[in-house]
């Protein structure tokens, strides 16, 4: 035992003397977590931090057109560009041709035009023109979705207006009015809105609402389409996005670290240090044990530091369920260590170990859900992902941090991780016995 401790002490000494190893293990992961936090941070706050830029032209004289313009102008989501610069650097307001050109040149991804006949008698609703450049589907979908959401939720009377116009057109002026009143009553009855409000919407109060006032709750739209969203899990989590992702990142970094340290065995072999060690009163078994324990403890420390960084930078709450977090981290570190040892047992050189490692880590991380949730993946991939260390570690960490799971909830995860560790350790011991490495 004393020999094993001496060997572990040696490995830590080597680790600290290798500035690159320390950087790769701690500094770079933390730096990446900061960078990714900055890149993806918006998802967390519903996209309010950055505004979407779109070109905008209003050719309509109708009050609705004006209203849309005002609503979008004051929205937190959009920035409207209404002019462009000509060759002489002069700002010129868009017209129908120049705004299309603006999109074509790639100056902006999309343009919204309210045509002169935006609200004609013949149309059911509002007619808007949307020009876009499909170079970025995701951005397009976002802009479109946000536009619809903004216009619909802020200016619901557009639809009523359209409906009324249709009724008048089909039924003639008088019966049309009568129908409208009937409709208003019926709608009002079912949706608990004052019918007067429907036949004659209080445009001014709507406009004040458009600025995003808190009375938005009463908006007509929301009364019609009442989607009660109730968050069941994680409502107290300060930073849901980071809390959900931190496990995946940490696992990936852990695997990289353990691949690197396991290839250290090859360095020691190549230089002849392994021969020197085995010529001293040290057995192969002791060296293997020391490597296991060293890698496991290093992996544990790394995870702990990464989670602490998460706690500091993103307010991830690691302390309220700390014991269970430690347990799942130990299980994860054990499984990953076994993985690293397997790599060194099946490889002949450090380069080989790193090559296999890189492939397996990237495959396991993507399939296991470290990069995006497994629920997005095809069924058969979801099945495969259950065979990865990353999946069970991440899910266990998620249970602990997100659902505040107790020991019994994560026992299956710990059991499976330890099971995986035992399985691949027996493979590597069988390989080590063959004597390729020592």
């Amino acid at each position: 035992m004393k020999t094993i401790l001496q060997l572990i002490r040696k490995d830590y000494k080597l680790f600290w003397s290798d500035r690159r190893a320390v950087t790769m293990t701690f500094i770079i992961p933390i730096a990446l977590i900061i960078i990714w936090g900055a890149v993806f941070g918006n998802l967390n706050k519903g996209g309010t931090a950055t505004k979407l830029h779109i070109a905008f032209l209003n050719n309509s004289t109708s009050p609705i057109g004006k209203k849309i313009e005002r609503v979008l102008d004051s929205s937190k989501t959009f920035v409207l560009i209404k002019t462009y610069k000509d060759e002489n650097d002069k700002r010129i307001p868009f017209d129908t041709a120049s705004i299309q050109n603006f999109v074509r040149k790639g100056s902006v991804s999309a343009a919204l035009v309210i045509p002169a006949d935006a609200l004609s008698d013949t149309a059911f609703g509002l007619k808007l023109k949307f020009y876009y450049d499909p170079k970025n589907d995701l951005e397009m979908q976002m802009i479109e979705g946000m536009l619809q959401k903004t216009i619909m939720s802020e200016i619901p009377d557009i639809f009523m207006q359209g409906m009324k116009n249709k009724a008048v057109k089909f039924l003639g002026l008088d019966s049309g009015k009568a129908f409208n009143n009937e409709i208003a009553k019926t709608v009002g009855k079912y949706f608990k809105i004052d019918p007067k409000w429907i036949t004659n919407p209080p445009v001014d109060s709507l406009l004040s609402m458009a600025g995003g006032s808190d009375s938005a709750k009463n908006s007509f739209f929301q009364n019609i389409l009442q989607l009660d969203k109730v968050q069941l899990v994680g409502q107290d989590i300060a930073n849901p996005w980071a809390t959900r992702s931190v496990g995946g990142w940490a696992m990936m970094f852990l695997l990289f670290t353990l691949t690197a340290t396991s290839s250290a065995l090859f360095e020691e072999k190549k230089s002849g240090v392994v021969l020197r060690l085995l010529a001293s009163p040290i057995s192969r078994v002791q060296i293997l044990w020391s490597k296991y324990l060293y890698n496991m403890s290093l992996g544990f420390i790394q995870l702990l530091i990464l989670f602490s960084a998460g706690a500091l930078l993103y307010q991830i709450d690691i302390f309220s369920n700390f014991i269970n977090l430690v347990l799942i981290i130990i299980a994860a570190a054990t499984a990953c260590t076994a993985f690293g040892m397997l790599l060194s047992s099946i490889s002949r050189t450090a380069g080989q170990a790193n090559g296999y490692g890189m492939f397996l880590i990237l495959a396991m991380s993507s399939i296991g859900g470290a990069w995006f949730p497994t629920s997005f993946m095809p069924d058969f991939i979801q099945t495969i992902s259950k065979f990865t260390i990353v999946y069970w570690s991440m899910d266990g960490i998620l249970q602990v941090l997100w659902r505040g799971a107790g020991i019994f909830d994560i026992l299956p995860h710990i059991g499976i991780l330890i099971g995986i560790a035992v399985l691949i350790t027996s493979i590597s011991i069988w390989q080590f016995k063959k004597g390729h490495v020592f």
Binding site: Q6, L7, S17, S271, V273, R276, A279, S280, S283
Partner: protein
Amino acid sequence: MIKINSITKRYPTITALDNISLNVNKQEFFGLLGPNGAGKTTLMNLLVGYLNPDQGDIHIAGEKVTQDGLHTRKNIGLVPQSLALYDDLSAQDNLDIFGSFYHIEKNLLKERIKEKLESVQLYERRKDKVKTFSGGMKRRLNLVASMLHDPPILLCDEPTVGIDPQSRNAIFDYLLMLNEQGKTIVYTTHYMEEAERLCKRIAIIDFGKIIAEGTIDELIEKLPYDETILITKNQVTKGKIDLLKSFGSVVDEDDHFQLKPNAGFQLSQFFSSLEKNTISYKFVELHKPTLESYFLHLTGRRLRD
């Protein structure tokens, strides 16, 4: 002290050691001389129990060497052929680590480290990382790193490859001193000068077999001639090769012919014959036979190409 009994060691593609038996006595400076790939390192690795033999056994100080038997290793210090050091650590840290596995009392280990560093003139550089050392310095450190537990037996596997004459001499003197103090030393090399200078007794190993064993004088005495004769290669001598061959076997070397005389060879006869054939004495040089000539005699090859 070391008894090697009918050892055979096979690698997948080659038999590295073929039924080898050797004895090394206590306090002996024993040389193992052989060309590249002869099996010297393999034998050393068997002696420390790093490898298991396919046949035969080895006893050191009466104890059988096995892969799991850690006790015999306390009696042995192995100086590996490669520089088995941690480049990123200081000389002192290296010794501290390698010494720690022998469970030596802390202060004693500290004292030994200082003493060993001083004895190979590395004490001033003890805090520097090994990677900043010269080849010779690394070799010297590699040597003392195997001796912190003060073993009675030292196995040196080519401890002087690729270093300057000064470091080499320092290592020679140090080893001779240790031998005088009573240590048993086994020394492998493919430099016959090293074996001649250091070793009392040697074994010559080639293709995994011991082809000769004895003191240097014993081996040279077995040669059927007392000296070798070198004849400078030039227009004149090249034409007289048949004449040379009538006196013994001739080996064609880079810039000269080497003549190994036949039995019954007489120098006076040889010189008068040269005179008759107008070959100047200037082109002729007499040599005392060496281990090199002995190896050549046994194998028809030189130790190093």
